[in-house]
Symmetry: C2
Subunit: 600 residues, 2 copies
């Protein structure tokens, strides 16, 4: 087997990208006209090799040798920077950007497939690149040409890195309570003061500079989230000629020491506390992005991109853990089958046991389903921007909007569970740091927390995404599922049975959604939003699996049989769990609402 | 609040032990006649204080400073030994043993409640004591008076420690493949050779000696598990006068480096490799326990005790994580309720949010349910030995037998999930090593693996415990549930609704069990054993919650209302998940059975 087999399945990526998502067709659109299937494949090959050769080798090293403060400076594991430098040298960082900013206009869906390789190899090191790219893209969309030239170009070149600074110590998920302030200075810039928490990549010496994107409140603005504006606050000021200037007043307060994801330094940053005094004045120098009061909307540009990246990173961790536990199960002899237990018989490999197969199929259904969903969403990003018809673009935008909370939360929840099953397949060995799955599990536990917790995604889905635009998002999703159901029911018995089960769940979800939306009382309506998110998530994944079954067509090789087994697992073992969740939602259960906390 | 509130709830223990399990009534039996409710309470107080003062303070220290090899010797974190010495000084180690071996004949159920305190405080340090006690009790049951005097007494005094040596590198769960051999020597002892893996407490310097209980194959025996005998293999030989003699030929091969549970050293041990040559001869000196070929049956004495201990440790970790996340949720302001979102309003504590309450109630239902189940099983241990009527003892034995795989696996699975929810309640902070819940989660991940994996418990339950003695165990369990259902249905609407839902699930479980047992083909019959274990587990826990509801009687204070809310959570959110699992089992689904591993 090739060396990269352990990280991800290239055969599956080819299937998802080409047989299902038909990314080759994108080259018929003007934006992607210079590309071809073979350039897509070459980029995937390049990234797979780079992930294997430069990212995977230090994954465990940078976990064991976590970031630390040495004389006030962040000391990262020394293998991180060369990997990121090698990545930047390929031009990968700007690969989806417009030609006008030095990009290659590669489809987002191909980029996300590459991201999966890096995340499978080393999610912590990839985190630096991911944040930098997302930051740069926000500025491409909302920054001025001068801001793009000064900050974005060096980020795409890998010389500058980027962060997103939203949370504060007193307000994690509650952005309405942001206290960081921006005061206008005489020269058109702002002076930023405040403390930001949970800032990944907040300080390090991986490049020449760090571009912080900071949500802050201008004095004049409204309270709550509407008063927030977005600012570029570089670690070092940048001259008109692009030269690195004075140290800005951004200082490192401390590091957070995490269970996993340790290679990505996570920081508390202080802005404008007087540690540094650029130009002799107080406050960190910040540059307003776009117009005042638009900070949150702009930040959502980056947040939505990052949420999808969290989804693909979660999927990649679940995927690589699956492949590693599969390899282990194939080679490790242990026990005998219940129909051939005699002790004189040789032990069989773990994979011969039904319960091990169940755990492998569960992992496969989670990982391949999650990867499929996130790639589908990335293809929607492309369609939103480049589909030939206006209506098609709007439709892609609606669908992406409603799928984003699921594409973030479902892989986070279920691929974490998948990594736990990967440990279980390894038995005691999986619990030791001698095997990779131990780290994948710890790394994965972050995914339901960062970039909007599970509960935040749930409220976003039930409280907003299913109802805005008169429920147009849910309607488009429902239509897509029904289209697949119709196509699937014309196929063989397995696929049509899958379609039939999915259709029942789909109809029930619509019904329950209407019932909830009709409820006048917001606390009750949203009280079980997380259960709703989980029910909707399983239905969406059953649909993604139906799409994959349909894309298989008549194919009947081992690959296709494996896909069908995973889809059947999902239909038989997972989808039936949706009904009791929807029943609970339909009952408008008030157990949590009526609880008096003093009873706990 | 008293300092020990954070670890466990004494109010709940009082409720479970006294109001529900009526442990005071045990003092009417001759064995416990010298005790009274007040002596039970005093011992609980003493253990709670000791856990708080001596075990909890170094829980994080011994996690960060894990065991390591220094010049061939195991170096443990220095706070571990004083804590264990303090525990031994209280006489706790032999507290349930007979007076004839220096014990206090305390009921097992009281002992297990004490164990919960120590595990909540520091499960890794408690692990040494737990193994020593279980080892000593096996020898009390099966060892000769001379063996008891030589090895058990020093263990109860805390001078010797004990291990159980079952697994080998090539055979983790598959004891039939044990290769360690025992050759009879001329003096009636044996010489042991082989390698044992995953040995907790396998080497250290916490006391004067370590008593290994080793499963090994005598040359004459049959193959498989029937050829296994049990041997005492001390680290140091012990003279007739109890003096510590020569080093036995047991040597440390290496340490396993684990995700959690780090304070408990886990080792690979080599027996009889010639590192040491006691008496100049080859092989480690071993003393046969009881008769040859009875090793596995004897070891099950210890394994069943340890499985129950794993259950209570899992429950304690889930419990303390629950209490810590509850304390955090009560004090941390974050966001606003959906019916009062205006940004000028102050933030509310996390506990005001429905989704946080859901996560707290889930944790409470898992932790208090799991603790209840394990204490119930410990009470069965007492009844099995001391109930006045012979029939009652038999009944307790049957019930304990069928409940043990559930009492081990259910707390392991669901309290692990509970610790994950405890992290989620903390948000990003919960993922950092600044908060205890991060460690509780890592520690908890071991519980579905050690002392028989989840899959092993599943096969034990479906393949053995539900069918032996013509299904008498299942019948007794069913009768107990029906008795509770009958009692519950005479009470208020909440309790009778709980009883009704439970009764339906109970009847369906019986039906599905019969269907599975009737299936001629063992691979299909047992293929979904893990799903069966999980379905049966949730039904048993719904019963345990019904028992608690009944025990509450008319009580209507905050404690009782909290219990009712947790029971209602379990009935509304958890129990309905049983039906699709039983449907899957009834369908005799062959997804895993028919899978060709080459498809994966």
């Amino acid at each position: 087997m090739p060396a990269s087999t352990d990280l991800l399945s290239r055969a599956d990526l080819d299937f998802l990208l080409h047989d299902w998502l038909r990314v080759g067709d994108l080259t018929e659109r003007p934006r992607f006209a210079e590309h071809s299937r073979s350039t897509f494949d070459e980029i995937l090959d390049l990234c797979a090799d780079l992930a294997q050769d430069r990212f995977a080798p230090h994954n465990r090293h940078s976990d064991a040798d976590e970031p630390r403060l040495v004389q006030g400076r962040v000391r990262l594991h020394p293998e991180i920077r060369p990997a990121l430098d090698a990545l930047a040298e390929t031009g990968f960082l700007g690969v989806t950007a417009d030609h006008r900013v030095g990009g290659l206009a590669l489809p987002r869906v191909v980029h996300l497939a590459c991201a999966a390789w890096f995340a499978a190899a080393n999610v912590s090191t990839y985190g630096y690149a991911m944040l930098t790219v997302a930051n740069a893209h926000l500025l491409c969309a909302h920054g001025s040409p001068e801001q793009i030239a000064r900050f974005v170009t060096p980020m795409f070149e890998g010389r500058f890195h980027g962060t997103m600074c939203l949370s504060e110590p007193q307000a994690g998920s509650s952005l309405a309570d942001t206290m960081t302030r921006a005061h206008p200075a005489d020269d058109g810039t702002y002076r930023i003061t405040g403390t930001k928490m949970w800032i990944s990549g907040g300080d390090h010496e991986l490049g020449e500079n760090i571009v912080h994107l900071v949500l802050a409140r201008t004095g004049a603005g409204e309270s709550g989230v509407r008063g927030l504006s977005l600012f570029i606050v570089p670690k070092f000021l940048v001259g008109d000629d692009g030269s690195i200037g004075e140290r800005n007043d951004v200082s490192l307060v401390g590091l957070n020491h995490k269970m996993g994801f340790r290679g990505t330094v996570n920081t508390v940053l202080s802005f404008g506390d007087g540690t540094h005094r650029p130009g002799g004045s107080a406050g960190a120098v910040g540059y307003l992005v776009g117009a005042p009061g638009e900070g949150l909307a702009q930040m959502f540009h980056m947040m939505n991109a990052v949420r999808l990246e969290v989804g693909v990173c979660a999927a990649a961790l679940g995927y690589t853990a699956y492949l590693k536990s599969l390899a282990y199960a194939r080679t490790r002899p242990q026990g005998r089958r219940p129909d051939a237990k005699a002790a004189h018989l040789p032990q069989v490999p773990l994979v011969e046991h039904a319960d091990i197969r169940r755990m492998l199929l569960a992992q496969k259904s989670y990982a391949e389903g999650a990867l499929g969903l996130t790639l589908y969403c990335a293809r929607l990003l492309d369609d939103r921007e480049t589909a030939p018809e206006h209506a098609e673009r709007d439709r892609a935008a609606l669908l992406l909007d409603i799928l984003t909370p699921i594409a973030k939360s479902w892989p986070a929840q279920w691929c974490l569970h998948g990594t736990s099953l990967a440990i279980q397949v390894h038995g005691g060995y999986g619990y030791t740091r001698d095997y990779d799955v131990e780290q994948h599990y710890r790394d994965s536990r972050l995914n339901p927390i960062h970039e909007g917790t599970h509960g935040i995604q749930a409220i976003d889905l039930l409280g907003r995404k299913t109802s805005i635009h008169d429920g147009a998002g849910l309607q488009v999703l429902d239509e897509e599922i029904r289209r697949a159901v119709a196509a699937g029911s014309r196929l063989g018995p397995e696929t049509s049975a899958h379609a039939a089960d999915l259709d029942l769940a789909r109809a029930r979800l619509l019904e329950v959604t209407k019932l909830l939306h009709a409820h006048p009382e917001p606390v009750t309506r949203l009280g079980n939003a997380s259960i709703y998110l989980e029910a909707a998530g399983h239905i969406v994944l059953a649909w993604i699996w139906l799409e994959q079954l349909i894309a298989l067509g008549d194919r009947d090789d081992a690959f296709a049989r494996g896909k069908r087994a995973a889809a059947r697992y999902f239909r038989s073992y997972e989808l039936p769990g949706v009904a009791p969740r929807l029943d609970l939602l339909a009952s408008l259960d008030r157990t949590t609402v009526d609880l008096d906390p003093s009873w706990l």
